[in-house]
Amino acid sequence: MRLGHHLAMFVLLTPGAMAVPAHAATIQIVMENLVVSPAEASAKVGDTIEWVNKDILAHTATAKNGDFDVAIAPKTTVTSVLQKAGTVEYYCRYHPNMKAVLTIAP
């Protein structure tokens, strides 16, 4: 239900969706007790990442190479669509001991 809602939003907000593969997936990455899981995830350009912050603290998913910087308020979920391929190391700007890797295929 929730997944369907996010996908619907994605299509509505992205008129250029035709350009991305029709099988774009939604991948969930959870931040809980200062741990990012999975610590290593794989996705494709055009996929949606659902960032779930279960903590009482604000977190960010900040790419070391500057490709993305997503702010996730406490107890919220934020979605973002992957735009660029690459192996991206990212961390939380507020708690730099939270680190993970996202491998994005073209």
Partner: protein
């Protein structure tokens, strides 16, 4: 610089020496009080930084500290309420508060870049000392598993703060 750092470290090492001086294992009500007090100290330092700091990054860091420590302390209060534990004032809390008051007064005399450097250096040293106290004293002494769990999460948060502070301190140079 060295003088300031050594003052900060001395203040923080009091936590373990005062706890040791008590000669007995800390109780959960005492541990809860110490953890809460340690949070309040950093919130007060952040509030001072919010009005005194000149560097944008330092101001942003102070806001992060205020937000995180308030959130953690709120969770701590909710937990002690749930566990029906009344935080109990103790020599360690008193020593920490006294040192923190002195440190705030010392920082209050500084201005501009001098203040910024001293504040962030103290944040690095303070978080380092609190983390060490959590690891060696508070977490091992906590009896209630939920309190222990909160302290363990707190340790991860404050280790993050320490790294964040180290990054900010390095960027000032």
């Amino acid at each position: 610089m060295f003088v300031r750092l050594s003052i900060a470290v001395a203040a923080l090492s009091l936590l373990s020496s005062a706890a040791l001086a008590q000669g007995a294992k800390l109780t959960d009500p005492q541990i809860a009080h110490i953890a809460y007090t340690a949070g309040v100290i950093d919130i007060n330092a952040a509030k001072q930084a919010d009005s005194k700091a000149s560097n944008k990054e330092i101001k942003a860091f102070a806001k992060d500290m205020e937000r995180d420590h308030e959130a953690v302390n709120k969770q701590a209060l909710d937990l002690v309420k749930k566990l029906k534990v009344t935080p109990e004032d103790n020599d360690t809390s008193k020593a920490l508060s006294k040192q923190a008051t002195d440190k705030l007064a010392e920082l209050a005399k500084l201005k501009g870049a001098d203040y910024d450097k001293a504040y962030i250096a103290n944040e690095v040293a303070y978080h380092k000392a609190v983390n060490s106290a959590l690891e060696t004293q508070l977490i091992p002494s906590a009896s209630n598993p939920e309190l222990k769990g909160l302290l363990q999460t707190g340790l991860k948060i404050f280790q993050g703060h320490q790294q964040h502070a180290e990054h900010v301190a390095a960027s000032l140079k």
